[in-house]
Symmetry: C2
Subunit: 217 residues, 2 copies
């Protein structure tokens, strides 16, 4: 069954792989699954055809036969179930991989998205400069806790799983901010993820869609 | 195998069921699984014993034999896999239930948590009043999209799933704000969830832990 991935026609991130389709491309590359791209313009993303597939008007959308999925977390978990590279066999180990996937998108990513909002959507507001230290400190709090938990381990649960894939994808958003450099164990963890051949292929595959000035990170 | 749930010793929400252990209690009640509570104080939540189980110093923590899980999304999905009430048999339907679970915590909840931050953590900041309309409009945007997708359906995917359980749990956080009343279809959807006997039992079970002044919602 062929896999179709709806992604940005032109990603606004200047080629840094921050769009949420990159994490799906990475999972597909780890699993060794072929896929076709369906680039969607910003305008088309808000039109009925796309909104019928993705009610929040976003990318990515994953289609495989009768199944249509949105939410990058659900998509990468669906892909992970097809690949021992992304999910171990043991039921408890699978539950903990999914736990880290949720921790990435529900505990670590929200304060990071606040930084994007603060730097882009609210950049011209009168409170922007004064509020920024609060936004950064909320991220530092989570990074400190995550770094303490990771310690000197290579991955979060022994071997690489889809939980690492998502956590690293979320942390990559911080690369330009300098915050990651304050946590050398996390910076090294991200570098290990980026060094994986599957990530390299995913990164290369999203580069041609990038255009325009990079977003502040 | 007995199930242990670590929850707030004293929930700060004044008994409105907003703590993240309520959604887990709800899932356990839907699945008809017995569980024991291990209430944790705010102080104990930051101590090494708890942090070893929950690296971000939060509740809930779910323990079942050798398995320890945090992240309410991962916990309710683990429970859902034990119950046809929460997850259908069909593989594609299960993937879409997980998709709505992720949509709840990763797309709908973040702007709602921003409201909590704006009303509590940043309530005394000089920008609090001026920034509030932006925070509210980001929530309205998501609620409008979700309401359009739900339409006149009872649940998000035909029959009730763990995706509805989580989406309703997230929307309940808005009850006191009045925002939900702007979207009657969502208000009715939340009311349908709250009317379920399993929700009623979960709500009643968290009431004794509630104490103190309610948080602004």
């Amino acid at each position: 069954m062929s896999i179709i991935l709806r992604c940005f026609e032109r990603s606004p991130d200047g080629g840094r792989g921050l769009a949420r389709d990159t994490r799906v491309r990475w999972a597909l590359e780890e699993a060794g699954l072929a896929y076709e791209l369906r680039p969607v313009s910003f305008q088309a993303m808000k039109e009925p055809e796309h909104m019928a597939l993705q009610p929040f008007g976003q990318i990515p959308v994953f289609q495989e036969g009768d199944l249509t999925l949105f939410e990058s977390g659900a998509i990468v978990f669906h892909i992970a179930q097809k690949s021992p590279v992304l999910l171990p066999d043991d039921a408890n180990a699978r539950a903990r991989a999914l736990m880290w996937l949720f921790a990435a998108v529900n505990t670590v990513e929200p304060p990071i998205l606040d930084l994007t909002i603060a730097r882009i959507v609210e950049a011209d507001k009168p409170w922007a400069a004064e509020r920024m230290p609060l936004v950064l400190d909320r991220i530092r709090n989570r990074l400190g806790q995550l770094s303490a938990r990771l310690g000197d381990a290579e991955w979060l649960e022994g071997s690489f799983t889809v939980g690492d894939l998502m956590m690293i994808s979320v942390l990559i958003r911080l690369k330009m901010s300098g915050l990651l450099d304050e946590f050398p164990k996390l910076a090294a963890y991200v570098a290990r993820g980026e060094a994986r051949p599957a990530y390299q292929r995913a990164y290369a595959s999203q580069l041609p869609t990038s255009a325009g000035a990079p977003l502040a990170g």
